[in-house]
């Protein structure tokens, strides 16, 4: 390898000294790429130049040769820094690919099956601000056709939030079919979270169930950002609020459960605070802004509504999400 580099450099330098052509300069650029590919350090390059030069020009004045010793010394420091940079870059690539694997794993924790029931029009979008998300969502139809939905938000973002998020997923998996009443679900989850979470962390969550037989929708909230309830007949939006402490603060918490009837065309909206805390021109958007954005799209399907809202808010923030963003809509079709 070194011999061929020597050969190459010698040809290049000879050609350049002979006719000072642009072509030789172009070759020099190619050579420097090759140097980096072969992990040749800057001081090796200087030393290569000197050996080649000594062979080409006999009787070099002593000062010239000596001056290269000084340059070599200077380049050694530069070379060290360069190698350190290289190894940091490699390490960063390693971390990045680890993080990609983790993010991929995290995505498998979220449900992805198509909702295909005659009565329900369902849509959800969840986009992390970074690679990993602190938001969690859930939807599932039980054996008798009741449809459960949930959005949870772990404080903070990035890796620590993502790790707590998986705890919610596993805790939910341990719930049986009988434990589907929203207040009861949150009480169970709170016990798990309270035992397993850091002193100054917590999780907020909203959990709801739609019972197609009675057309009732029941929900409870653990300190979560309120959602919305749209009444089709009156064409009005109401805030979806229920009393309840965030998960993980106190071991025994009771949650208020509220319920109402969903008539055809009515829908509920669950969201994370990444939606309402979108900052446009440095100002937080108001909840009313979210409502009016939905109102303009009532004719679309639930999935189209959430997709379009995300696209519009992402664009308004110049494609830089500050927080994880989750938005979900459950509509009774007829």
């Amino acid at each position: 390898m070194q011999v061929s580099m020597y050969r190459l450099y010698k040809d290049m330098l000879t050609s350049y000294l002979r006719d000072k052509s642009e072509t030789a300069l172009y070759h020099a650029q190619q050579f420097s790429k090759q140097m980096m590919e072969q992990d040749m350090s800057p001081e090796e390059t200087v030393s290569l130049h000197l050996s080649v030069f000594q062979e080409l020009a006999e009787d070099l004045p002593e000062e010239v040769t000596d001056s290269f010793d000084l340059l070599l010394e200077v380049m050694i420091g530069y070379g060290l820094a360069y190698r350190e940079h290289q190894s940091l870059r490699d390490r960063q690539q390693e971390l990045e690919s680890e993080l990609n694997v983790a993010a991929q794993m995290q995505r498998t924790l979220l449900p992805d099956k198509q909702v295909d029931t005659e009565e329900i029009d369902f849509g959800v979008i969840s986009v992390p601000a970074g690679k990993m998300s602190g938001d969690y969502y859930h939807y599932d139809e039980d054996s008798v056709g009741n449809f459960a939905v949930a959005v949870a938000d772990v404080i903070g973002k990035g890796v620590p939030a993502a790790m707590s998020m998986s705890m919610i997923k596993y805790a939910m998996d341990t719930l049986t079919d009988k434990q589907t009443e929203p207040a009861g679900v949150l009480e169970s989850l709170n016990r798990v979270v309270e035992r397993n979470i850091d002193e100054d962390m917590f999780i907020t969550m909203m959990y709801g169930v739609y019972y197609p037989e009675s057309h009732q929708f029941h929900f409870a909230s653990a300190g979560h950002e309120p959602g919305f309830f749209y009444r089709s007949a009156a064409d009005t939006f109401e805030s979806l609020e229920a009393k309840g402490l965030v998960l993980g603060v106190s071991p025994k918490v009771r949650y208020e459960e509220r319920g109402f009837r969903l008539d055809p065309g009515d829908f509920v909206v669950f969201l994370s605070d990444g939606v309402t805390e979108s900052r446009v021109d440095g100002e937080f958007i108001e909840r009313d802004t979210v409502v009016s954005m939905i109102k303009e799209r009532l004719h679309l399907s639930a999935q189209e509504i959430v997709n379009e809202l995300f696209e519009e808010l992402e664009k308004a923030q110049e494609f830089q999400l500050r927080d994880d963003f989750t938005l979900m809509i459950l509509r009774r079709k007829f």
């Binding site: 938000d153 404080i155 917590f202 300190g223 402490l245 603060v249 106190s250």
Partner: protein, 109 residues
């Protein structure tokens, strides 16, 4: 995004006056100051938030940590001077039910 904390010490209480934004960037600084105060066994802790415009969820976590620390030390934690936005955050999260919030000092904002 600055955060300023002034602590005054009295015989049976500590008062921390906080101003600025309590968010993911400043939370660590607040925690560093507040936690030792909350752990003092013979002094209750009052945190004055009159100068605080905005608290995010990471910031809220610090107050939960302080609450737990003061409970462990057998004393109490009181928050005062919350503006409307901050107060609403404590209400949504249900934390106003577990943390003593004294609204007397600042109802209007």
């Amino acid at each position: 995004m600055n955060l300023d904390i002034q602590v005054s010490d009295y015989e049976n209480k500590s008062v921390a006056e906080v101003s600025g934004e309590v968010d993911v960037y400043t939370a660590a600084k607040l925690k560093e100051t507040i936690t030792p105060l909350a752990e003092q066994e013979d002094k209750r802790l009052i945190i004055d938030l009159s100068g605080v415009d905005y608290i995010d969820s990471t910031g809220l976590g610090i107050f939960i940590g302080a609450l737990k620390a003061s409970e462990k030390a057998g004393t109490s934690l009181t928050l005062t001077g919350l503006n409307a936005r901050v107060k609403r955050l404590f209400e949504i999260t249900g934390l106003h039910e577990v943390i003593d919030i004294d609204q007397a000092k600042r109802e209007e904002a």
